[in-house]
Protein backbone atom coordinates (compact mmCIF):
# COMPACT_ATOMS: atom_id res chain seq x y z
CA UNK A 1 0.00 0.00 0.00
CA UNK A 2 2.98 2.23 0.55
CA UNK A 3 3.30 2.99 -3.15
CA UNK A 4 -0.26 4.35 -3.24
CA UNK A 5 0.32 6.80 -0.41
CA UNK A 6 1.50 9.71 -2.60
CA UNK A 7 -1.70 9.41 -4.63
CA UNK A 8 -3.90 9.68 -1.55
CA UNK A 9 -1.89 12.63 -0.25
CA UNK A 10 -2.06 14.53 -3.56
CA UNK A 11 -5.77 13.85 -4.05
CA UNK A 12 -6.58 14.74 -0.43
CA UNK A 13 -4.72 18.04 -0.67
CA UNK A 14 -6.36 18.93 -3.98
CA UNK A 15 -9.78 18.00 -2.59
CA UNK A 16 -9.47 20.86 -0.09
CA UNK A 17 -9.30 23.54 -2.80
CA UNK A 18 -13.07 24.27 -2.94
CA UNK A 19 -12.98 24.94 0.82
CA UNK A 20 -10.26 27.52 0.30
CA UNK A 21 -11.80 29.32 -2.66
CA UNK A 22 -15.27 29.42 -4.12
CA UNK A 23 -14.07 31.35 -7.14
CA UNK A 24 -15.66 29.96 -10.26
CA UNK A 25 -12.68 31.12 -12.31
CA UNK A 26 -10.24 29.15 -10.20
CA UNK A 27 -12.42 26.05 -10.03
CA UNK A 28 -13.16 26.18 -13.73
CA UNK A 29 -9.46 26.42 -14.45
CA UNK A 30 -8.75 23.46 -12.20
CA UNK A 31 -11.57 21.36 -13.66
CA UNK A 32 -10.20 21.89 -17.17
CA UNK A 33 -6.70 21.11 -15.91
CA UNK A 34 -7.90 17.86 -14.32
CA UNK A 35 -9.69 16.99 -17.53
CA UNK A 36 -6.47 17.36 -19.50
CA UNK A 37 -4.58 15.45 -16.81
CA UNK A 38 -7.08 12.60 -17.15
CA UNK A 39 -6.91 12.52 -20.95
CA UNK A 40 -3.13 12.81 -20.66
CA UNK A 41 -2.95 9.92 -18.19
CA UNK A 42 -4.66 7.78 -20.81
CA UNK A 43 -2.10 8.79 -23.39
CA UNK A 44 0.69 8.32 -20.86
CA UNK A 45 -0.16 4.70 -20.22
CA UNK A 46 0.17 3.79 -23.88
CA UNK A 47 2.78 6.36 -24.94
CA UNK A 48 4.80 6.91 -21.79
CA UNK A 49 4.87 3.38 -20.39
CA UNK A 50 4.34 1.47 -23.63
CA UNK A 51 6.31 3.71 -26.00
CA UNK A 52 3.48 3.80 -28.57
CA UNK A 53 3.03 7.47 -29.48
CA UNK A 54 -0.55 8.10 -30.47
CA UNK A 55 -1.37 11.31 -32.30
CA UNK A 56 -5.06 10.56 -32.28
CA UNK A 57 -6.33 10.21 -28.73
CA UNK A 58 -9.17 12.49 -29.81
CA UNK A 59 -10.73 9.32 -31.20
CA UNK A 60 -11.33 8.06 -27.65
CA UNK A 61 -12.11 11.40 -26.08
CA UNK A 62 -14.66 12.23 -28.75
CA UNK A 63 -16.27 8.80 -28.65
CA UNK A 64 -16.70 9.02 -24.88
CA UNK A 65 -18.15 12.51 -25.18
CA UNK A 66 -20.55 11.76 -28.03
CA UNK A 67 -21.80 8.48 -26.59
CA UNK A 68 -22.60 10.09 -23.25
CA UNK A 69 -24.34 12.99 -24.93
CA UNK A 70 -26.25 11.05 -27.56
CA UNK A 71 -27.51 8.47 -25.08
CA UNK A 72 -29.04 11.27 -23.03
CA UNK A 73 -30.31 13.44 -25.83
CA UNK A 74 -31.60 10.82 -28.21
CA UNK A 75 -32.44 7.92 -25.92
CA UNK A 76 -33.05 9.61 -22.57
CA UNK A 77 -30.59 7.36 -20.78
CA UNK A 78 -29.30 8.48 -17.39
CA UNK A 79 -26.06 10.43 -17.58
CA UNK A 80 -24.25 8.38 -14.91
CA UNK A 81 -25.06 5.24 -16.78
CA UNK A 82 -24.09 7.03 -19.98
CA UNK A 83 -20.71 7.74 -18.45
CA UNK A 84 -20.04 4.03 -18.08
CA UNK A 85 -21.26 3.26 -21.58
CA UNK A 86 -19.16 6.15 -22.94
CA UNK A 87 -16.04 4.74 -21.30
CA UNK A 88 -16.84 1.30 -22.68
CA UNK A 89 -17.40 2.76 -26.16
CA UNK A 90 -14.04 4.53 -26.00
CA UNK A 91 -12.42 1.24 -25.04
CA UNK A 92 -14.15 -0.44 -27.96
CA UNK A 93 -12.71 2.11 -30.38
CA UNK A 94 -9.37 1.38 -28.73
CA UNK A 95 -9.81 -2.32 -29.46
CA UNK A 96 -10.52 -1.62 -33.13
CA UNK A 97 -7.62 0.78 -33.69
CA UNK A 98 -5.25 -1.26 -31.55
CA UNK A 99 -6.14 -4.61 -33.06
CA UNK A 100 -5.71 -3.26 -36.58
CA UNK A 101 -2.46 -1.39 -36.09
CA UNK A 102 -0.74 -3.82 -33.73
CA UNK A 103 -1.83 -6.90 -35.66
CA UNK A 104 -0.06 -5.50 -38.68
CA UNK A 105 2.98 -4.61 -36.64
CA UNK A 106 2.82 -0.84 -37.07
CA UNK A 107 5.49 0.90 -35.05
CA UNK A 108 6.90 4.36 -34.53
CA UNK A 109 5.87 7.06 -36.96
CA UNK A 110 3.49 4.74 -38.78
CA UNK A 111 1.54 4.13 -35.61
CA UNK A 112 1.37 7.87 -34.94
CA UNK A 113 0.09 8.47 -38.46
CA UNK A 114 -2.55 5.78 -38.37
CA UNK A 115 -3.96 6.96 -35.04
CA UNK A 116 -4.11 10.48 -36.40
CA UNK A 117 -5.95 9.24 -39.48
CA UNK A 118 -8.52 7.31 -37.42
CA UNK A 119 -9.28 10.39 -35.36
CA UNK A 120 -9.71 12.41 -38.55
CA UNK A 121 -12.06 9.85 -40.05
CA UNK A 122 -14.19 9.98 -36.91
CA UNK A 123 -14.15 13.78 -37.00
CA UNK A 124 -15.35 13.87 -40.58
CA UNK A 125 -18.04 11.27 -39.93
CA UNK A 126 -19.21 13.18 -36.86
CA UNK A 127 -19.38 16.39 -38.85
CA UNK A 128 -21.86 14.91 -41.34
CA UNK A 129 -23.69 12.13 -39.49
CA UNK A 130 -27.21 13.11 -38.40
CA UNK A 131 -26.94 11.34 -35.04
CA UNK A 132 -24.20 13.71 -33.86
CA UNK A 133 -26.14 16.75 -34.97
CA UNK A 134 -23.73 17.06 -37.89
CA UNK A 135 -22.60 20.67 -38.33
CA UNK A 136 -24.93 22.02 -35.64
CA UNK A 137 -23.56 19.88 -32.84
CA UNK A 138 -25.18 18.21 -29.85
CA UNK A 139 -26.60 20.13 -26.92
CA UNK A 140 -27.32 18.31 -23.65
CA UNK A 141 -30.43 19.66 -21.99
CA UNK A 142 -29.86 21.66 -18.84
CA UNK A 143 -31.08 19.54 -15.92
CA UNK A 144 -29.37 20.65 -12.74
CA UNK A 145 -29.85 17.55 -10.63
CA UNK A 146 -27.07 15.33 -9.25
CA UNK A 147 -28.96 12.30 -10.59
CA UNK A 148 -28.53 13.82 -14.04
CA UNK A 149 -24.79 14.40 -13.44
CA UNK A 150 -25.34 18.17 -13.40
CA UNK A 151 -24.71 20.51 -10.50
CA UNK A 152 -25.50 24.04 -9.42
CA UNK A 153 -21.94 24.84 -8.44
CA UNK A 154 -18.54 23.93 -9.80
CA UNK A 155 -17.30 22.22 -6.65
CA UNK A 156 -19.02 18.85 -7.23
CA UNK A 157 -17.73 18.80 -10.80
CA UNK A 158 -14.29 19.52 -9.44
CA UNK A 159 -14.50 16.66 -6.96
CA UNK A 160 -15.74 14.26 -9.59
CA UNK A 161 -12.94 15.24 -11.97
CA UNK A 162 -10.49 14.85 -9.12
CA UNK A 163 -12.01 11.47 -8.31
CA UNK A 164 -11.58 10.32 -11.88
CA UNK A 165 -7.98 11.52 -11.92
CA UNK A 166 -7.36 9.79 -8.59
CA UNK A 167 -8.85 6.60 -9.95
CA UNK A 168 -6.66 6.80 -13.04
CA UNK A 169 -3.61 7.31 -10.83
CA UNK A 170 -4.49 4.22 -8.82
CA UNK A 171 -5.04 2.18 -11.97
CA UNK A 172 -1.73 3.28 -13.48
CA UNK A 173 0.12 2.72 -10.19
CA UNK A 174 -1.40 -0.75 -10.04
CA UNK A 175 -0.19 -1.44 -13.55
CA UNK A 176 3.29 -0.18 -12.63
CA UNK A 177 3.40 -2.79 -9.88
CA UNK A 178 2.18 -5.66 -12.01
CA UNK A 179 3.52 -8.12 -14.56
CA UNK A 180 1.47 -6.36 -17.21
CA UNK A 181 3.25 -3.10 -16.41
CA UNK A 182 6.66 -4.75 -16.47
CA UNK A 183 5.87 -6.26 -19.86
CA UNK A 184 4.59 -2.93 -21.19
CA UNK A 185 7.78 -1.12 -20.20
CA UNK A 186 9.87 -3.97 -21.60
CA UNK A 187 8.10 -3.52 -24.95
CA UNK A 188 8.89 0.19 -24.89
CA UNK A 189 12.54 -0.50 -24.17
CA UNK A 190 13.07 -3.32 -26.66
CA UNK A 191 10.28 -5.19 -28.35
CA UNK A 192 12.36 -8.07 -29.71
CA UNK A 193 14.01 -8.77 -26.40
CA UNK A 194 10.58 -8.77 -24.78
CA UNK A 195 9.26 -11.31 -27.27
CA UNK A 196 12.22 -13.57 -26.65
CA UNK A 197 11.37 -13.54 -22.94
CA UNK A 198 7.85 -14.78 -23.54
CA UNK A 199 6.00 -11.49 -23.77
CA UNK A 200 2.98 -11.64 -26.09
CA UNK A 201 3.61 -8.14 -27.37
CA UNK A 202 0.40 -7.92 -29.36
CA UNK A 203 -1.84 -8.72 -26.40
CA UNK A 204 0.06 -6.48 -24.03
CA UNK A 205 -0.04 -3.51 -26.40
CA UNK A 206 -3.69 -4.11 -27.15
CA UNK A 207 -4.54 -4.27 -23.45
CA UNK A 208 -2.63 -1.05 -22.85
CA UNK A 209 -4.51 0.56 -25.72
CA UNK A 210 -7.86 -0.47 -24.23
CA UNK A 211 -7.11 0.89 -20.75
CA UNK A 212 -5.58 4.01 -22.28
CA UNK A 213 -8.64 4.57 -24.48
CA UNK A 214 -10.99 4.03 -21.55
CA UNK A 215 -9.22 6.61 -19.39
CA UNK A 216 -9.19 9.20 -22.16
CA UNK A 217 -12.83 8.40 -23.00
CA UNK A 218 -13.71 9.09 -19.35
CA UNK A 219 -12.27 12.57 -19.84
CA UNK A 220 -14.50 12.97 -22.90
CA UNK A 221 -17.61 11.85 -21.01
CA UNK A 222 -16.85 14.31 -18.28
CA UNK A 223 -16.28 17.07 -20.82
CA UNK A 224 -19.72 16.49 -22.31
CA UNK A 225 -21.38 16.71 -18.90
CA UNK A 226 -19.44 19.76 -17.87
CA UNK A 227 -19.84 21.90 -20.99
CA UNK A 228 -23.10 20.33 -22.23
CA UNK A 229 -22.21 21.06 -25.84
CA UNK A 230 -20.25 19.12 -28.46
CA UNK A 231 -19.45 19.40 -32.11
CA UNK A 232 -17.04 17.43 -34.26
CA UNK A 233 -14.23 19.98 -34.00
CA UNK A 234 -14.43 19.90 -30.21
CA UNK A 235 -14.93 16.20 -29.60
CA UNK A 236 -12.65 14.82 -32.29
CA UNK A 237 -10.50 17.92 -32.76
CA UNK A 238 -6.72 17.73 -32.90
CA UNK A 239 -6.57 20.05 -29.86
CA UNK A 240 -7.35 17.19 -27.49
CA UNK A 241 -4.93 14.80 -29.19
CA UNK A 242 -2.26 17.43 -28.71
CA UNK A 243 -3.17 18.33 -25.12
CA UNK A 244 -3.28 14.64 -24.21
CA UNK A 245 0.28 14.09 -25.37
CA UNK A 246 1.62 17.49 -24.40
CA UNK A 247 0.69 17.15 -20.71
CA UNK A 248 2.65 13.93 -20.04
CA UNK A 249 5.55 14.97 -22.24
CA UNK A 250 5.89 18.31 -20.47
CA UNK A 251 5.33 16.82 -17.03
CA UNK A 252 7.41 13.70 -17.45
CA UNK A 253 6.61 10.96 -19.89
CA UNK A 254 6.10 7.51 -18.39
CA UNK A 255 5.84 8.85 -14.84
CA UNK A 256 2.77 8.56 -12.64
CA UNK A 257 2.32 12.22 -11.86
CA UNK A 258 3.72 13.52 -15.15
CA UNK A 259 0.34 14.14 -16.82
CA UNK A 260 -1.06 15.98 -13.79
CA UNK A 261 2.04 18.12 -13.40
CA UNK A 262 2.20 18.77 -17.14
CA UNK A 263 -1.48 19.67 -17.39
CA UNK A 264 -1.04 22.16 -14.59
CA UNK A 265 1.99 23.72 -16.28
CA UNK A 266 0.50 24.00 -19.75
CA UNK A 267 -2.85 25.31 -18.50
CA UNK A 268 -1.16 27.90 -16.30
CA UNK A 269 1.05 28.97 -19.18
CA UNK A 270 -1.96 29.15 -21.47
CA UNK A 271 -3.95 31.24 -19.01
CA UNK A 272 -1.11 33.63 -18.27
CA UNK A 273 -0.48 34.11 -21.98
CA UNK A 274 -4.13 34.94 -22.44
CA UNK A 275 -3.89 37.48 -19.62
CA UNK A 276 -0.83 39.11 -21.15
CA UNK A 277 -2.16 39.20 -24.69
CA UNK A 278 -5.68 40.12 -23.73
CA UNK A 279 -7.18 36.93 -25.05
CA UNK A 280 -6.11 37.32 -28.66
CA UNK A 281 -6.47 33.88 -30.23
CA UNK A 282 -3.44 31.88 -31.20
CA UNK A 283 -0.67 33.13 -28.99
CA UNK A 284 -1.47 30.86 -26.06
CA UNK A 285 -1.34 27.83 -28.32
CA UNK A 286 1.84 29.03 -30.00
CA UNK A 287 3.36 28.96 -26.52
CA UNK A 288 2.36 25.27 -26.29
CA UNK A 289 4.30 24.57 -29.44
CA UNK A 290 7.29 26.43 -28.11
CA UNK A 291 7.05 24.56 -24.83
CA UNK A 292 6.89 21.23 -26.64
CA UNK A 293 10.04 21.97 -28.62
CA UNK A 294 11.80 23.32 -25.55
CA UNK A 295 10.98 20.24 -23.49
CA UNK A 296 12.05 17.84 -26.24
CA UNK A 297 15.26 19.78 -26.83
CA UNK A 298 16.24 20.65 -23.30
CA UNK A 299 14.46 18.31 -20.90
CA UNK A 300 13.59 15.10 -22.71
CA UNK A 301 12.45 13.53 -19.44
CA UNK A 302 9.96 16.32 -18.79
CA UNK A 303 9.77 18.79 -15.95
CA UNK A 304 9.73 15.99 -13.38
CA UNK A 305 12.92 14.65 -14.95
CA UNK A 306 14.45 18.09 -14.87
CA UNK A 307 13.74 18.38 -11.17
CA UNK A 308 15.25 15.00 -10.37
CA UNK A 309 18.27 15.82 -12.51
CA UNK A 310 19.06 18.66 -10.13
CA UNK A 311 19.62 16.05 -7.45
CA UNK A 312 23.02 14.36 -7.87
CA UNK A 313 22.69 10.99 -9.53
CA UNK A 314 24.71 7.87 -8.96
CA UNK A 315 25.66 7.24 -12.56
CA UNK A 316 26.88 9.98 -14.79
CA UNK A 317 29.23 10.13 -17.73
CA UNK A 318 32.44 11.54 -16.37
CA UNK A 319 32.69 14.91 -18.05
CA UNK A 320 36.16 15.24 -16.56
CA UNK A 321 37.84 11.84 -16.38
CA UNK A 322 39.46 11.00 -13.10
CA UNK A 323 42.79 10.12 -14.69
CA UNK A 324 44.54 11.59 -17.64
CA UNK A 325 47.60 10.43 -19.48
CA UNK A 326 49.93 13.26 -20.25
Amino acid sequence: MKTYLPIFVVVAVLALVPFVTASNVVLNFLVVTLLIALAGQGWNLLGGYGGQYSFGHAAFFGTGAYVTAILQVQYGINAWFGLLIGIAAGALVGIVIGALSFRWGLRGSYFSLVTLAFAEVLRIVASVAPITGAGVGTLIKLDLRPEAFQFQSRAPFYWIALGLVGLSLIVVRGIENSRFGAYLVAIRENEDAARALGVDTFSVKLAAMIVSAAITAAAGCFYAQYFLFLDAAIAYGTWISIDALLAPIVGGVGTLFGPLLGALIIKMLGESTKLVTGGAPGLDLAIYGLLLIAVVGLAPRGIAGLLSALVPRRFRPPSVPEHHHG
Binding site: P317, P318, V320, P321, H324
Partner: protein, 237 residues
Protein backbone atom coordinates in the same frame (compact mmCIF):
# COMPACT_ATOMS: atom_id res chain seq x y z
CA UNK B 1 62.47 10.48 -36.38
CA UNK B 2 59.59 11.70 -38.50
CA UNK B 3 56.93 13.83 -36.87
CA UNK B 4 53.71 11.94 -36.27
CA UNK B 5 50.98 12.39 -38.83
CA UNK B 6 48.28 11.48 -36.32
CA UNK B 7 48.71 12.00 -32.61
CA UNK B 8 46.02 10.84 -30.19
CA UNK B 9 46.41 11.78 -26.57
CA UNK B 10 44.27 10.77 -23.61
CA UNK B 11 41.19 9.99 -25.66
CA UNK B 12 38.05 9.16 -23.69
CA UNK B 13 34.66 8.60 -25.23
CA UNK B 14 31.56 6.43 -25.19
CA UNK B 15 27.83 6.37 -25.79
CA UNK B 16 25.19 7.68 -23.44
CA UNK B 17 26.67 7.17 -20.01
CA UNK B 18 28.83 4.19 -20.96
CA UNK B 19 32.51 4.95 -21.31
CA UNK B 20 34.07 2.82 -24.05
CA UNK B 21 37.50 4.36 -24.54
CA UNK B 22 39.25 5.03 -21.27
CA UNK B 23 42.34 7.02 -22.12
CA UNK B 24 43.96 6.04 -25.39
CA UNK B 25 47.31 7.43 -26.55
CA UNK B 26 48.95 6.54 -29.83
CA UNK B 27 50.42 7.93 -33.01
CA UNK B 28 50.87 7.12 -36.68
CA UNK B 29 53.88 8.40 -38.60
CA UNK B 30 53.81 9.33 -42.31
CA UNK B 31 53.92 6.32 -44.67
CA UNK B 32 53.58 3.87 -41.81
CA UNK B 33 51.21 0.91 -41.40
CA UNK B 34 50.02 0.70 -37.81
CA UNK B 35 47.58 -1.93 -36.65
CA UNK B 36 45.19 -1.80 -33.72
CA UNK B 37 44.09 -5.25 -32.63
CA UNK B 38 41.45 -6.34 -30.20
CA UNK B 39 38.36 -8.45 -29.71
CA UNK B 40 34.84 -7.43 -30.61
CA UNK B 41 33.70 -4.73 -28.24
CA UNK B 42 37.19 -3.73 -27.17
CA UNK B 43 36.48 -0.24 -28.48
CA UNK B 44 38.16 -0.41 -31.89
CA UNK B 45 35.29 0.98 -33.93
CA UNK B 46 34.54 3.59 -31.31
CA UNK B 47 38.13 4.70 -31.64
CA UNK B 48 37.99 5.06 -35.41
CA UNK B 49 34.65 6.85 -35.16
CA UNK B 50 36.11 9.29 -32.66
CA UNK B 51 39.13 9.99 -34.88
CA UNK B 52 36.84 10.66 -37.85
CA UNK B 53 34.64 12.99 -35.84
CA UNK B 54 31.53 10.81 -35.94
CA UNK B 55 31.61 10.24 -32.19
CA UNK B 56 32.54 13.23 -30.00
CA UNK B 57 35.47 12.68 -27.65
CA UNK B 58 34.66 13.27 -23.99
CA UNK B 59 38.25 14.23 -23.28
CA UNK B 60 41.67 14.17 -24.89
CA UNK B 61 43.21 15.59 -28.03
CA UNK B 62 43.51 14.33 -31.59
CA UNK B 63 46.04 16.09 -33.81
CA UNK B 64 46.38 15.48 -37.52
CA UNK B 65 49.31 17.13 -39.29
CA UNK B 66 49.70 19.27 -36.14
CA UNK B 67 46.13 20.61 -36.21
CA UNK B 68 43.68 19.79 -33.45
CA UNK B 69 40.74 17.93 -34.99
CA UNK B 70 38.91 16.57 -31.94
CA UNK B 71 36.15 19.15 -32.35
CA UNK B 72 36.04 19.09 -36.17
CA UNK B 73 33.11 17.79 -38.20
CA UNK B 74 33.61 14.54 -40.16
CA UNK B 75 33.43 16.38 -43.51
CA UNK B 76 36.18 18.77 -42.44
CA UNK B 77 38.39 15.90 -41.29
CA UNK B 78 37.95 14.24 -44.68
CA UNK B 79 38.92 17.50 -46.38
CA UNK B 80 42.18 17.49 -44.40
CA UNK B 81 43.13 14.09 -45.85
CA UNK B 82 42.21 11.74 -43.02
CA UNK B 83 39.89 9.16 -44.57
CA UNK B 84 38.16 6.24 -42.94
CA UNK B 85 36.87 3.15 -44.70
CA UNK B 86 34.29 2.11 -42.13
CA UNK B 87 33.43 -1.31 -40.80
CA UNK B 88 30.69 -2.87 -42.89
CA UNK B 89 31.81 -0.95 -46.00
CA UNK B 90 28.90 1.51 -45.97
CA UNK B 91 28.81 1.93 -49.73
CA UNK B 92 25.79 3.49 -51.46
CA UNK B 93 23.96 0.37 -52.68
CA UNK B 94 21.52 2.04 -55.08
CA UNK B 95 24.18 3.98 -56.97
CA UNK B 96 26.62 2.80 -59.60
CA UNK B 97 30.21 1.94 -58.83
CA UNK B 98 31.29 5.10 -60.58
CA UNK B 99 28.88 7.31 -58.66
CA UNK B 100 30.13 5.75 -55.44
CA UNK B 101 33.70 6.56 -56.33
CA UNK B 102 32.88 10.10 -57.43
CA UNK B 103 31.13 10.77 -54.13
CA UNK B 104 34.37 9.77 -52.45
CA UNK B 105 35.97 12.76 -54.17
CA UNK B 106 33.08 15.01 -53.08
CA UNK B 107 35.47 17.41 -51.35
CA UNK B 108 38.10 17.34 -54.05
CA UNK B 109 36.56 19.12 -57.04
CA UNK B 110 35.66 17.77 -60.43
CA UNK B 111 39.05 18.35 -62.08
CA UNK B 112 40.90 15.83 -59.95
CA UNK B 113 38.13 13.28 -60.16
CA UNK B 114 39.22 11.66 -63.41
CA UNK B 115 42.83 11.38 -62.30
CA UNK B 116 41.84 9.85 -59.01
CA UNK B 117 39.35 7.52 -60.59
CA UNK B 118 41.92 6.21 -63.04
CA UNK B 119 44.33 5.66 -60.20
CA UNK B 120 41.71 3.65 -58.32
CA UNK B 121 40.92 1.64 -61.42
CA UNK B 122 44.60 0.81 -61.86
CA UNK B 123 44.62 -0.61 -58.34
CA UNK B 124 41.23 -2.34 -58.70
CA UNK B 125 40.77 -3.33 -62.36
CA UNK B 126 37.61 -5.20 -61.41
CA UNK B 127 35.91 -1.96 -60.40
CA UNK B 128 36.70 -0.52 -63.80
CA UNK B 129 34.87 -3.42 -65.45
CA UNK B 130 31.82 -2.81 -63.27
CA UNK B 131 31.68 0.99 -63.44
CA UNK B 132 28.00 1.25 -64.30
CA UNK B 133 26.82 -1.64 -62.16
CA UNK B 134 24.79 -0.84 -59.04
CA UNK B 135 27.03 -1.19 -56.01
CA UNK B 136 24.47 -3.23 -54.10
CA UNK B 137 24.79 -6.03 -56.66
CA UNK B 138 28.55 -6.48 -56.15
CA UNK B 139 29.95 -9.43 -54.23
CA UNK B 140 31.23 -8.92 -50.70
CA UNK B 141 34.84 -8.74 -51.81
CA UNK B 142 34.07 -6.28 -54.58
CA UNK B 143 32.10 -4.12 -52.17
CA UNK B 144 35.11 -3.98 -49.87
CA UNK B 145 37.28 -2.93 -52.81
CA UNK B 146 34.76 -0.27 -53.72
CA UNK B 147 34.77 1.02 -50.16
CA UNK B 148 38.56 1.26 -50.18
CA UNK B 149 38.50 2.76 -53.67
CA UNK B 150 36.01 5.39 -52.51
CA UNK B 151 38.38 6.19 -49.66
CA UNK B 152 41.30 6.59 -52.07
CA UNK B 153 39.28 9.00 -54.22
CA UNK B 154 39.54 11.52 -51.39
CA UNK B 155 43.35 11.58 -51.69
CA UNK B 156 44.11 10.38 -48.18
CA UNK B 157 47.35 10.99 -46.38
CA UNK B 158 46.13 8.63 -43.68
CA UNK B 159 43.69 5.84 -44.45
CA UNK B 160 41.88 4.20 -41.57
CA UNK B 161 40.67 0.73 -42.49
CA UNK B 162 38.16 -0.55 -39.93
CA UNK B 163 37.93 -4.35 -40.08
CA UNK B 164 38.37 -4.62 -43.85
CA UNK B 165 38.70 -8.42 -43.73
CA UNK B 166 35.36 -8.93 -41.95
CA UNK B 167 33.16 -11.35 -43.84
CA UNK B 168 35.68 -12.12 -46.60
CA UNK B 169 36.76 -15.64 -47.50
CA UNK B 170 40.31 -16.64 -46.52
CA UNK B 171 41.52 -16.29 -50.10
CA UNK B 172 40.13 -12.77 -50.46
CA UNK B 173 41.66 -11.81 -47.14
CA UNK B 174 45.12 -12.73 -48.45
CA UNK B 175 44.44 -10.58 -51.52
CA UNK B 176 43.27 -7.71 -49.37
CA UNK B 177 46.42 -7.60 -47.31
CA UNK B 178 48.56 -7.50 -50.45
CA UNK B 179 46.46 -4.54 -51.57
CA UNK B 180 46.98 -2.76 -48.29
CA UNK B 181 50.74 -3.06 -48.79
CA UNK B 182 50.41 -1.67 -52.33
CA UNK B 183 48.41 1.29 -51.16
CA UNK B 184 50.94 1.97 -48.45
CA UNK B 185 53.74 1.75 -51.04
CA UNK B 186 52.23 4.80 -52.71
CA UNK B 187 53.07 6.82 -49.62
CA UNK B 188 49.73 6.61 -47.85
CA UNK B 189 49.87 5.91 -44.13
CA UNK B 190 47.47 3.18 -43.01
CA UNK B 191 45.83 2.66 -39.65
CA UNK B 192 44.58 -0.91 -39.82
CA UNK B 193 41.98 -1.85 -37.25
CA UNK B 194 41.54 -5.60 -37.26
CA UNK B 195 40.64 -8.80 -35.52
CA UNK B 196 42.68 -10.80 -37.99
CA UNK B 197 45.80 -10.90 -35.85
CA UNK B 198 48.19 -13.03 -37.88
CA UNK B 199 47.97 -11.19 -41.17
CA UNK B 200 47.68 -7.72 -39.65
CA UNK B 201 50.92 -8.25 -37.76
CA UNK B 202 52.55 -9.39 -40.99
CA UNK B 203 51.83 -6.16 -42.89
CA UNK B 204 52.12 -3.64 -40.07
CA UNK B 205 55.26 -2.03 -38.74
CA UNK B 206 53.85 -1.33 -35.31
CA UNK B 207 50.90 -2.68 -33.39
CA UNK B 208 48.70 -1.68 -30.49
CA UNK B 209 46.46 -4.07 -28.60
CA UNK B 210 43.22 -2.63 -27.33
CA UNK B 211 41.35 -4.26 -24.47
CA UNK B 212 38.39 -2.82 -22.61
CA UNK B 213 39.01 0.66 -23.92
CA UNK B 214 42.71 0.83 -23.09
CA UNK B 215 45.91 -0.15 -24.86
CA UNK B 216 47.43 -3.04 -22.96
CA UNK B 217 50.39 -3.51 -25.24
CA UNK B 218 52.25 -1.72 -27.99
CA UNK B 219 55.42 -2.29 -29.93
CA UNK B 220 56.95 -3.39 -33.21
CA UNK B 221 54.61 -5.78 -34.98
CA UNK B 222 57.27 -8.44 -35.48
CA UNK B 223 58.06 -8.54 -31.79
CA UNK B 224 54.43 -9.05 -30.83
CA UNK B 225 53.96 -11.64 -33.56
CA UNK B 226 56.83 -13.71 -32.23
CA UNK B 227 55.82 -13.65 -28.60
CA UNK B 228 53.41 -16.54 -27.98
CA UNK B 229 52.83 -15.53 -24.37
CA UNK B 230 51.69 -12.06 -25.35
CA UNK B 231 49.43 -13.47 -27.95
CA UNK B 232 47.89 -15.93 -25.55
CA UNK B 233 47.38 -13.39 -22.80
CA UNK B 234 45.92 -10.59 -24.83
CA UNK B 235 44.58 -12.10 -27.99
CA UNK B 236 43.30 -15.43 -26.73
CA UNK B 237 45.20 -17.43 -29.33
Amino acid sequence: MAKPLLLVDGLHTGYGSTEILRGVDFHVKPSEIVTVLGANGAGKSTMSRAISGVTRPWAGTIRFKDDAIERAQPAEIVARGLIQVPEGRRIFPNMTVRENLDLGAYRRGRSRRNVNRNRVFSIFPRLSERQSQRAGTLSGGEQQMLAIGRGLMAEPELLILDEPSLGLSPLLVEELFVLIKNINAQGIAVLLIEQNVVQSLEVAQRAYILDNGRFVLEGPAAQIANDPDLKRTYLGM
